[in-house]
């Protein structure tokens, strides 16, 4: 098997726009990931945990109700069935193992929907690491059950009160903590964003989604899909889903962002669909910003998509034309949540409900594969309007 690079840039995007204090830690992380990725003992340990603890491989499920609704063949990659309820655990387990390998006893994480925070708290409980999770105060309100889960798992949840009090500020607070405690602390970033090597590291840890799905769909349907669809906030489930299909020219790849209250309202989270080029949280990518380079607040009903930036590899894949990025409104995502619940008996998280909403709005007789990146129990308050 060839070893792909741990890229610092994806075309013009990516880089390491962070204070000098962090550069040696990023160098170390890059070296350690190159070594760990090639180390059979590390891969065996990670593979064992993903299988026996987390529950991989997750099923690929042919969804009859959705198939009938779009007049085609719809398959769901069931990351909602992974331990802790979302794909975030793939990355958190890998990075927590890496923290142990680097001898760092303390882990910090940011979280939006709370899924990455729960995954990090879980991995730290399992591996005996101290865990601090930064979360915007607004997200703590929206995702109360996940805050309680993190605390039960032994993590300290720190409320972030700056700005819109959502994911952007939580990432900034985590980076500031890391600048101050870099010698003892590993920052488990939760999406395919941030300074290099994070976008490549998170992609490598999440590509298990697409690797499994590609093999499963060929086994079950005897062919590759016509369309592969995933939601994109920072973009970790999407990049992990897309990359194994990137060389299959006949497979259309579609990333679904959050259009919030509408792309023309300034109340959305769709930088790839609409945004200019800018630096946020250490990487050059598609970013919501004003003409002077101030970062704008994002908006989405889904806390996990409520972020003004996106992973640099997505910006590259957009420019290259390999992936098409589209956006779905709060209203349509909420409607899709209800449709999936009734047609399939599955409560999807509001994040992948955006991907399903796009699918429902674009019926196609072909084979569509959608990554159902997490379960929706956390979103009940939002969905029920409580």
């Amino acid at each position: 098997m060839s070893t792909p690079a741990v890229e610092r840039r994806f075309g013009p995007y990516g880089g390491r726009y962070v204070p000098e204090t962090l550069i040696p830690a990023l160098d170390e992380l890059e070296r350690e990931w190159v070594a760990a990725r090639a180390d059979p003992a590390f891969q065996e340990e990670l593979g064992r945990l993903l299988r026996d603890y987390a529950g991989r491989p997750t099923p690929l499920y042919r969804a009859p109700g959705l198939s009938a609704a779009v007049g085609g063949d719809v398959w769901l990659k069931r990351e909602d069935l992974l331990h802790t309820g979302s794909h975030k655990l793939n990355n958190a387990l890998g990075q927590a193992l890496l923290a142990k390998r680097m001898g760092k006893p303390r882990v910090i994480a940011e979280t939006g929907a709370g899924q990455h925070g729960v995954a990090s708290a879980t991995a730290c409980a399992l591996l005996g690491l101290e865990c601090v999770v930064y979360m915007g105060a607004e997200d703590m309100r929206r995702q109360r059950p996940n805050v309680q889960r993190m605390r039960l798992l032994g993590a300290e949840v720190r409320s972030v009160d700056a700005g819109a009090r959502t994911l952007k500020e939580a990432v900034s607070a985590a980076i500031r903590d890391w600048v101050a405690n870099v010698e003892t602390t590993h920052y488990v970033i939760g999406s395919a964003v941030g300074p290099a090597p994070y976008p490549a590291l998170v992609r490598d840890l999440q590509r298990v989604i697409g690797d499994e799905a590609r093999a499963q769909v060929r086994e079950a349907a005897g062919r590759l899909p016509d369309r592969v669809i995933a939601c994109v906030g920072g973009g970790s489930n999407a990049i992990g889903t897309f990359i194994p299909f990137a060389g299959d020219a006949e497979v259309e790849l579609i990333g679904v962002e959050a259009a919030g209250e509408g792309l023309d309202t300034m109340r959305h989270s769709a930088p790839l669909t609409t945004g200019a080029r800018g630096v946020l949280h250490g990487a050059l990518s598609a970013v919501l910003q004003d003409e002077e380079g101030q970062i704008l607040e994002a908006h989405s009903v889904s806390a996990g998509l409520d972020y003004p930036g996106s992973g640099p590899e997505h910006a590259f894949l957009r420019d290259s034309g390999r992936v098409r990025y589209v956006a779905v409104s709060d209203e349509d995502a909420l409607a899709a949540f209800g449709t999936v619940a009734r047609l399939e008996g599955i409560l999807p998280a509001l994040e992948p409900a955006h991907a399903i909403a796009w699918l429902l709005a674009h019926p196609d007789p072909g084979l569509s594969l959608v990554t159902l990146s997490g379960r929706g129990d956390k979103d009940l308050a939002e969905v029920l309007g409580e």
Partner: protein
Amino acid sequence: MSVASTGVDRIASAFAGHGKRAALMPYLMGGFPDQEASLAAAEAAADAGADLIELGIPFSDPLADGPVIHDAATRALAAGATPYGVLTVCERLAERLPVVLMVYANAVLAAGVEAFALRAASAGAAGLIVPDMPHDESGELRAACDAEGIALVPLVAPTSTPERIAEIGADARGFVYAVSLTGTTGERDSVAEGLAEMVARIRDAAQVPVAVGFGISTGAQARAVAEIADGVIVGSRIVRAAGEGGAAAVGAVVEELASALS
């Protein structure tokens, strides 16, 4: 000082001719609490013995800054501060002393690196500090600053390896900004251990002066830093004074620091 002197020359003169134990460089947030008040505060700092001014351009997501400066940036932006507005403050101050702009990478990239360097130089800035554009990412901006005769001042951190210090020092313009501690900006009780060794290593690598910042707030700390470095940068304490007592309070703090360095 001749009108034609470059920003790099003006910084060198300020470090050569301050007549104190070390050059004193207060940091002020442009546009905080509003544009006119930030100019008045900086003028008060100049009157009270500042040798250079570090002038911050407020940014929405300042990753290198602690709570005092972050809050000042947020309030400046809420009051309508813009990079152009801060450059007009720079223009007025530059008549009196060298001004080094502290600006985050995205504001530079949004304008375009060459356009930003030109605009800064036209406003009389002597140099730029971009805390989230480390050495590896800064080649293009350094070339643009060189073309305009202004200094791209690099930062060195306690975590920087000797190899990095050598590379950063060799490319340094104006002065090297030595970050005294592993953390964000903000007041601390004492000066970090290991600072003297880091400053000595920078001196070996760089042809320009070394100024120390982050965590320095008292006259005693400033004097301790002056034992080992060529310049002292004081940020959060000054910004706090600007917020609490305006120009008069800034003048008083700078006077106290300047007398500790005399």
